[in-house]
């Protein structure tokens, strides 16, 4: 029976990998961020000054926190009607049909396209369109980034929403139909109320995706280290400032970037935890 013991031990040891990895990630981020927090204290979070000039170095994360939150929320707002109608299409109107399967695979394809390809496409194909509308001069900024971000997170919101909408018991819907309700009335008074928390969770998880997205946003947001002044103004996000400045950073600046990474880690972990919590209660 030694084979049994060896196998059990091997399985247990491999399960430690993820434990050590998670602990290591948190410790390394904390350790790397410590100098920045020691130097600036709470001001690191509340200040929006980002000045890497030697001698008068000052780093604050607020501009990037604002940029991340604004682009992600805007992306979510754009994403909601798209994901909502697509999931109704897949799981309610055309549930189980070939059309529904085709649409579902197309939406899955959207999830497979690499972030940098989205960024490049947004830069060369979408940006000129936005410039042509006259709303923006350069086409860079919060809105452009959010629009591409919305397309990127649609598949995540859709697949989960569709799954949950298709789980609504047929008896409930049939009861409403038997009372003479139209399909729209069934959707709004039966399907949505009973799938509500699942649908909300799917959007929260999509938001979690948007918060950490890097490349596409970096290529489109304009990379200005200020709190965005409007929908079409440039800004910067936590992920994209790390991507842009980490390579040439050292000392205090490196620590400030790691501290931004730590904050981003905490925000995404919190949002994802919230989404998972709602799903668990739903199930």
């Amino acid at each position: 029976m030694s084979g049994d013991r060896v196998t059990k031990a091997l399985l247990f040891i491999s399960s430690l990998t993820i434990l050590l990895l998670s602990a290591g990630i948190v410790i390394s981020l904390l350790g790397g961020a410590l100098p920045a927090f020691k130097e600036f204290g709470v001001r690191f979070i509340t200040s929006s000054v980002w000045n890497p000039t030697e001698g008068s170095e000052e780093y604050g994360a607020m501009a990037f926190i604002a940029g991340t939150v604004i682009t992600s929320i805007l992306a979510l707002i754009i994403c909601i009607p798209m994901a909502f109608s697509t999931s109704l299409f897949i799981a309610e109107y055309y549930n189980g049909t070939r059309t529904s399967r085709i649409l579902r695979s197309l939406v899955d394809l959207l999830a497979g396209i690499p972030s940098i390809v989205y960024g490049f496409w947004g830069f060369y194909a979408l940006r000129p369109l936005l410039v042509a509308t006259g709303l923006t001069d350069q086409g860079f900024g919060v809105f452009t980034a959010s629009l591409v971000l919305a397309i990127m997170i649609v598949p995540y919101a859709t697949s989960l929403s569709a799954e949950i909408i298709s789980m609504v018991p047929a008896e409930l819907k049939e009861a409403a139909y038997s009372l003479g309700a139209t399909r729209r009335e069934v959707i709004f008074s039966v399907v949505i109320p009973s799938a509500r928390s699942g649908i909300i969770a799917s959007f929260i998880l999509a938001l979690g995706r948007a918060l950490g997205e890097t490349m596409a946003v970096t290529m489109l947001i304009g990379n200005a280290n200020v709190i965005p002044k409007g929908l079409f103004a440039p800004g910067n996000t936590m992920a994209s400032v790390i991507a842009n400045q980490f390579g040439e950073a050292s000392g205090l600046k490196m620590s400030a970037l790691i501290a931004i990474g730590l904050l981003l880690f905490l925000i995404t972990a919190l949002v994802n935890y919230l989404g998972k919590l709602i799903i668990k209660r739903f199930a």
């Binding site: 029976m1 084979g3 049994d4 196998t7 059990k8 091997l10 399985l11 491999s14 399960s15 990998t17 993820i18 434990l19 998670s22 290591g24 990630i25 390394s28 009607p81 798209m82 994901a83 909502f84 109608s85 697509t86 109704l88 299409f89 109107y93 649409l103 197309l106 939406v107 899955d108 959207l110 497979g112 396209i113 690499p114 972030s115 940098i116 390809v117 989205y118 490049f120 496409w121 397309i151 859709t158 309700a181 139209t182 399909r183 009335e185 008074s189 950490g212 997205e213 890097t214 290529m219 790390i242 991507a243 980490f246 390579g247 790691i258 990474g261 981003l264 995404t268 972990a269 935890y273």
Partner: protein, 296 residues
């Protein structure tokens, strides 16, 4: 139900009209959602096709001067993405080596002990790790490998960041696959006196093989297109290199380099087209394996 009751007293003609209108709204929303995929694939195919030739796969990236000369005469840009291709394959191979064995075993461990608190805790950790933005994994690999082990940007650091991304994906897909295996198969094995380890190696793994392969392929298609963590770890290199302690390039890193060089624009279209087709075919392969998924 009150809404239905009040609605019933309304004019049936109006209710039918809003019903039809809402249906069109849903269809329109769904169509708008899938339009971008056609736009993206279409524009990449049209603009990227010209540069795809044999040299594109066999030669390293050109320097900006060569590209400028070609662009000025209207020729296609010489060179290709060979240095990125070899770098990507090297790092993805190493990442698989680091992530697949512990990922599979941890997945099996969670499945086998799913009633225990510790296993459930490990599963939540994997869920959290899966949600960590990839750029943060780049920072981690930078601190661990670039600063302390290879003392400089390296393929090893790139692979470690990709491996950390891959690990939770493999763990979750393994556990979910295992959960789909009928309990009766396990029970039948135990009833015949099969030892535990033989049950795992000879029954659980072979029976769920296609499901496990799907999970691995999907994880690979995720990490193949990753750019952000590699910017902080592998950095990029103009030459083909297989030294894991030195910087290497990768296809997404090349796209980033080309994107930042105005002379290389037409090469970005081709490189993006190639990366997208590569990742999507991996994705489709995974799904076709999954659809053949059968449990005895």
């Amino acid at each position: 139900m009150t809404e239905i009751n009040t609605a019933l007293t309304d004019n049936i003609g109006r209710r039918n009209r809003t019903n039809v209108r809402f249906r069109y709204l849903v269809i329109a929303g769904a169509v708008i959602t899938v339009i971008p995929i056609f736009l993206i694939v279409g524009s990449l195919a049209i603009k990227g096709f010209r540069q795809i030739n044999l040299a594109f796969f066999t030669q390293p990236a050109p320097d900006t001067f060569q590209a400028m000369m070609a662009a000025s005469t209207g020729d296609i840009i010489p060179g290709g993405i060979a240095n990125g291709l070899t770098g990507s394959l090297l790092m993805v191979f190493l990442a698989s080596l680091f992530a697949i064995p512990p990922g599979l075993m941890t997945g099996i461990y969670i499945y086998e002990n799913s009633s225990q608190k510790y296993a459930r805790f490990i599963r939540s950790l994997a869920e959290i790790l899966q949600g960590v933005p990839s750029i943060i994994l780049g920072i981690i690999a930078y601190i661990w490998i670039v600063k302390n082990i290879t003392k400089g940007y390296s393929a090893l650091a790139g692979s470690v960041s990709l491996a950390i991304m891959m690990l939770p994906l493999i763990i979750r897909s393994t556990e979910e696959t295992m959960r789909m295996i009928p309990v009766s198969i396990r029970e039948a094995a135990f009833a015949l006196g099969t030892p535990y380890y033989k049950m795992i190696y000879k029954i659980l793994i072979p029976v769920s093989f296609s499901g496990l392969a799907t999970g691995v392929l999907l994880a690979l298609s995720r990490i193949l297109g990753e750019t952000a963590p590699l910017m902080l770890t592998a950095l990029g290199s103009p030459a083909i290199s297989f030294d894991i302690t030195k910087p290497v390039s990768a296809v997404p890193l090349l796209i980033w380099d080309f994107y930042n060089d105005p002379n290389m624009v037409s090469l970005v279209w081709s490189a993006s087209l190639f990366l997208m087709v590569f990742v999507l075919s991996m994705n489709l392969l995974a799904r076709s394996v999954a659809s053949k998924h059968k449990y005895i």
